[in-house]
Each structure stands twice: as C-alpha cells, then as structure tokens.
C-alpha cells in the first residue's frame, strides 16, 4: 500500500496537470524572442527588463480565463526545498564563474554557452524535481545543445552577436511552437466546465 501512495509521484502528477496548458512555454518563448531583440537594439532593454513581471501577470490572467475553468485551480508551495535551492545555487555559481572567465579573458566566443546556463539550469531543476516530463527534459537538452552549437560557430569565426540573436530567437520559436501545440491540445482535451461545485454541495446539504 505504501508503494501505491507515492507522494512524490502525486506531486509530479499534480504539477504536470497544470503545466498541460503550455502557457509557461509560450511566455518563455516570447521572453526569449524579446531577449534576442536586445542584441539588435538596446532600446528594447527596458521592455525585456519588465517582461518577466508582465509575463507573470499575463499568465495569471490567461489561466483565470482559460485554464482554471477547464482543469481547475491549484496552488503550490512557493518556497524551494533544499535540493532545489542547492541546484539553483550551483547553476548561479557555474554562470558567475563563466561570466568571470569571459570578462577576464575577453573570450566572447563563450557567450552562446553562457546565456543558456541559467535558463537550462533552472529549467532542469523544475523538470527534475517537479514534473519529470519527457518534453521538459528534451527542452533542457535543447537549451544546452543550442549553447554548444553557438559555441561551435563563434569558435569558427562567426560574429558573436549574430550567433546569439539566431540562437536565442531560435530557442524562442521552438518554445513558442511547443507551447502553442500543447495549448491547442489542452483546449481540445478539456472542455469548459459549466456547472460549479457549490451547487452540488448545496443540493447535498438540503
């Protein structure tokens, strides 16, 4: 019986359920697209700086309108547990070490790898400890792969800025596509709930 009540698996199942709408991927894709604009023009920096907060707002509004009335509302604990905190610290340490190396040596070819360290680290942490969904593992690999491919091109003399723009916008497009596909599948799978629970409770209590 103990084996069948695998609390960790229930936790993952619950997390995967709310992630089915693909909204996080859509917004992350848009965020990546905006980030790539910084390399085109610095005017975009203010938009990019505000975008994570705006994305959170947008996600909540869209979820209120489309997700919660289909699959229901769920709230998770916002604090990170020990393992998640350690992994985040490790990711930040790797990122800062690489940043110091790039700054000290002026070796800008490492930049494509540097820009994907934080997103891939955090994405892996969330995937591994919260969802364990195959698609999310694949996206983590895609992040790192884009960094390695970017590094390959910069080492072969391609312009670093161009490589970064292509890499980040490419990642954005992939994430956006995956997110939209998941979102459409979600809308088809879960029709809108019309009757609310409170009616059922009222009837029962009468």
């Amino acid at each position: 019986m103990e084996q069948s009540i695998n609390i960790e698996e229930v936790k993952r199942k619950t997390y995967r359920a709310i992630q089915q709408d693909g909204l996080d991927k859509i917004l992350l894709g848009i965020l990546f697209g905006l980030c790539s604009l910084i390399y085109v023009s610095m005017v975009w920096i203010a938009v990019v700086a505000c975008s994570p907060v705006l994305a959170q707002f947008a996600r909540e509004i869209i979820r209120k309108k489309l997700t919660y009335n289909r699959i229901g509302y769920v709230e998770f604990s916002k604090s990170l547990d020990k393992k998640e905190t350690l992994f985040t610290l490790l990711t930040v340490t790797i990122f800062l070490s690489l940043l110091v190396i790039v700054n000290r040596t002026g070796f800008k070819a490492l930049l494509p790898l540097l820009v994907v360290i934080i997103p891939s680290g955090i994405y892996f942490m969330i995937t591994h400890y919260r969802s364990r969904a195959k698609i999310d593992y694949m996206i983590t690999i895609l992040f790192l792969l884009s960094g390695v491919i970017g590094l390959f091109f910069t080492l072969h003399g391609y312009d670093t800025t161009t490589v970064l723009v292509v890499q980040i916008s490419g990642l954005g497009v992939v994430l956006l596509t995956i997110g939209i596909v998941q979102f459409i599948r979600f809308l088809r799978k879960y029709p809108k709930q019309t009757v609310e629970a409170s009616n059922v409770f009222k009837e029962k209590r009468k």
Binding site: M1, N69, I71, G72, V74, E75, F76, F201
Partner: protein, 109 residues
C-alpha cells in the same frame, strides 16, 4: 496478559488505521491535497476521476472530520470552491501512512 489481550495488541497497527482516510477515494483526495497548498473542486474532480456527487460526498465527510477546510468564494463572478488540508488532516494523513507502513513491515514474507 491473557491470550486475547495479546492477540489484540498484535493487531494494534491495523485497528489504529483511520477509517475515514482508509477509503480509497478519500485517500486519493487527501494525497492530492497533501502535496499542494490548496486546490479547487474541479481540479480534484479531474485528477481523481470522481463524479461531482461522489466527490462532494467524500469532501463533506472529510470536512466533518476536520481534515479539510472548504472555502467558497467568487472569482470574477464565478464561484470557486477551494479546498485545503487542515493541520489536523495533515497530521492524520502522516499517521495513516506510518500505520500502513507498520502493518506491512510486520507481515511475514
């Protein structure tokens, strides 16, 4: 100690099992509420695959036992029934897990 009393003591972990939690549907509900801060009725219905009537009946029993807290509110004019595990419910679930563990650990191969 009489043999009957000893026998009863041997079965203590089984008799200690909380019958309110032991019902599979309620166990499922509590397991879901154990891992989240709170969830609404529709979410639980989707996850547990229980019908509306069935779920509300189990929720009423859990509420009566003081294991869950049911809060009804309106979000953008839409009613939402939010469910949360109480401290008592969390403790009871942990004790239930421990008791079940004890029952099966003590069984011979």
């Amino acid at each position: 100690m009489s043999s009957k009393k000893k026998e009863n003591k041997d079965f203590q972990p089984i008799t200690d099992i909380d019958r309110i939690i032991h019902e599979p549907a309620r166990l499922m509900i509590l397991a879901f509420l154990y891992v989240v801060e709170r969830a609404d009725f529709i979410f639980l219905m989707r996850q547990t695959n229980l019908t509306k009537g069935n779920l509300s009946s189990h929720l009423s029993k859990l509420e009566a036992a003081g294991y869950i807290d049911i809060e009804k509110k309106f979000v953008s004019k839409i009613p939402r029934t939010l469910l949360r595990l109480t401290k008592r419910g969390r403790k009871a679930f942990q004790i239930y897990r421990q008791n079940m563990k004890n029952v099966f650990e003590n069984l011979p191969e």
